[in-house]
């Protein structure tokens, strides 16, 4: 894409965003509670969390539309507290696109350049580049009502990027699109972000979107940041029951700690009397009630018992065929069941309810969470 390179050439690379102790109180409740984040320049950072967890409020404080009750925000190392939104030089894309309905595609994208008194020839060139970048060349004279949702979203994106902001803020920009288009736009968005090296702060409650697009992400719950890390870190090593439940799928096996280990490696005994090893999400003590979380694709079945692995006998109680995989519900005794996801490879024997299924999995893929956290975890 020649246009992207032309745009990238004129683009100062993204700015770092640092948030310190950010808090927003509405009446008695804290919508955002002591949030601190470090966002690398040029990275794709996502705020992920359930509805009402404070994602939009955090983003709005960065944009300057909401005044923090406490805390500070730095963009490119400079505090922005004193600046109104129009002076922060941050691109912003809203969930409902907020494309100006009375202006054509060209006029919409030219708007930020016009208010900056960019010469007309420059405006035409840069709008043209942007249109090419978002693949809307030829749509210049259309009005927003003549565009599909996906096209309007691209106009909003081009408009937010054309003035070369160092940071692009996006609040659930793809939520209104259908599944196929959303997946497609995710790819395009990511590609554009990488070409322009712009820092993106992205808000979503779609965990799959967060996992596939982000360099790093923060999981939020009730106004607080629960965990920050790369998608891999958050998926493989959730630090809390909430993070484990919210991001991806897990089965949880209840038990008690028999060996607290050396801080991270620990052993527990399940209700069925099976001993499991795993990594402690937080320090444990012997006798404490814990839940062992395991992702459904981590299970191996019917292999030869290998040393150092966790094992459990099981019996299939349900099977759901999903094309590439089959999801089994497996009873492991003492009233506990786990979900096991297996690839439907040629050799794989499909099983029916009632069949025995011996499970094994790696201790490194077993995370032990204190069970009392369940009360306020999820």
């Amino acid at each position: 894409m020649a246009a992207a390179d032309a745009v990238a050439a004129g683009q100062s690379s993204g700015a770092a965003v640092r948030i310190e102790g950010l808090t927003k109180q509405f009446g008695r409740s804290k919508a955002v509670d002591d949030v601190s984040l470090d966002i690398d320049p040029g990275s794709f950072f996502t705020l992920l969390g359930p509805s009402g967890s404070g994602k939009t409020t955090t983003l709005m404080m960065v944009a300057g539309f909401v005044h923090p009750t406490a805390g500070e925000i730095f963009v490119g190392g400079r505090p922005v507290a004193g600046l109104p939104p129009q002076e922060r030089q941050l691109g912003m894309v809203f969930q409902n696109y907020a494309v100006f309905p009375h202006l054509t595609v060209f006029q919409n994208i030219a708007f930020p350049l016009e208010v900056r008194r960019t010469p007309g020839a420059d405006i035409r060139r840069r709008v043209g580049e942007m249109l090419e970048l978002v693949r809307l060349s030829g749509y210049e004279q259309r009005l927003p009502r003549q565009l599909s949702g996906g096209e309007q979203q691209r106009v909003a994106l081009a408009r937010a990027l054309v003035f070369r902001p160092r940071v692009l803020l996006m609040d659930e920009p793809l939520a209104a699109l259908d599944k196929n288009l959303r997946t497609h736009m995710q790819g395009e968005l990511k590609q554009i972000q990488q070409r322009l090296h712009v820092t993106v702060v992205y808000v979503t409650h779609d965990q799959e979107e967060a996992l596939t697009m982000s360099d790093r992400l923060a999981v939020m719950n009730q106004g607080r940041v629960v965990q920050v890390g790369t998608p891999g870190e958050l998926y493989e090593a959730p630090a809390s029951l909430f993070a484990a439940r919210f991001l991806g799928e897990s089965s949880f096996i209840a038990g008690t700690v028999v060996d607290a280990g050396d801080g991270s490696a620990a052993r527990m005994r399940t209700g069925a009397g099976v001993e499991l090893s795993g990594r402690a999400a937080s320090p444990l003590r012997v006798g404490q009630a814990v839940l062992a979380g395991i992702r459904p694709e981590k299970f191996l079945v019917d292999g030869a018992p290998a040393a150092g692995m966790n094992h459990s006998p099981g019996r299939v109680t349900g099977a759901v065929y999903a094309g590439d995989t089959t999801r089994y519900t497996v009873d492991i005794g003492a009233g506990e069941a786990v979900t096991v996801k297996l690839q439907n490879q040629m050799r794989a024997r499909t099983r029916a309810a009632g069949d025995a299924m011996a499970l094994s999995w790696h201790p490194a893929e077993t995370v032990l969470f204190p069970a009392e956290a369940a009360a306020h975890g999820g």
């Binding site: 939104p85 002076e87 912003m92 907020a98 309905p101 708007f111 208010v115």
Partner: protein, 266 residues
Amino acid sequence: MIGSEGQRTGLGTLALYGVAGLVLLLLIAPIVIVAIVSFSSAESLTFPPPGFSLRWYERFLALPGWRRALWVSVQVATITMVLATLLGLLASLALVRGRFRGKGIVYAFVLSPMIVPTIITAVALYFFFVRVVGTGSILAMAIGHTVLALPIVVMVIASTLQGFDSRLEMAAFSLGAGRLTTFRRITVPIIAPAVLSAGLFAFLTSFDELLIPLFLAGVEAETLSVRIWNSLLLEVDPMIAAVSTLFVVVTMLVLGISALLRRAGP
């Protein structure tokens, strides 16, 4: 069962159409009859008219008193339109966007001329203006009509502002536009159709209104409505029908333009 249900629905539908048709007929018939009579060739009001002619329209345009009345009405209505739209726009912005105490009371106050009988407003304005400027002031009548038109203007514009997506303004801010630029280039163009149609309603409110000019017009500045009223007291001839028809045409034109504006809006 099904048959009798169908029967009942059929009868009900018939009754509904009947009543609706009757109401429409009662609403429209006088206007249609007046319009027909206005093209009458007869000397007096007779229906059906014996022949067709444009003599009453010619007569209306030929009489300087009537022409002057039309001109006064247009001036009063135009000033009313400008004043009511300007004040109404500002008031709506304050009422919808502003944050101040007693907003509900201010809103009720702005709408109160709709509740107060016009005759009361007219009498009050009469006693005020008679001392300040005497009668016959076009501006005084326009101010009186502005009082009457303001509630309508505020209702139309305020409801549009309430439906206005404030994220459009936030987007403009984030793109670097200041408050004034955003208002001028985003807010105003989007609410313009509603503001214009509110203005047209203000024009009509003034153009049609009798009571306030009846008190304030004096002999110097009769509006069309006052002149019709006065001439009805003396004599009734088909020219009144011609004037009335003109009235209806002006009203329909203005309403038509306003409907077109609304369709053009977002």
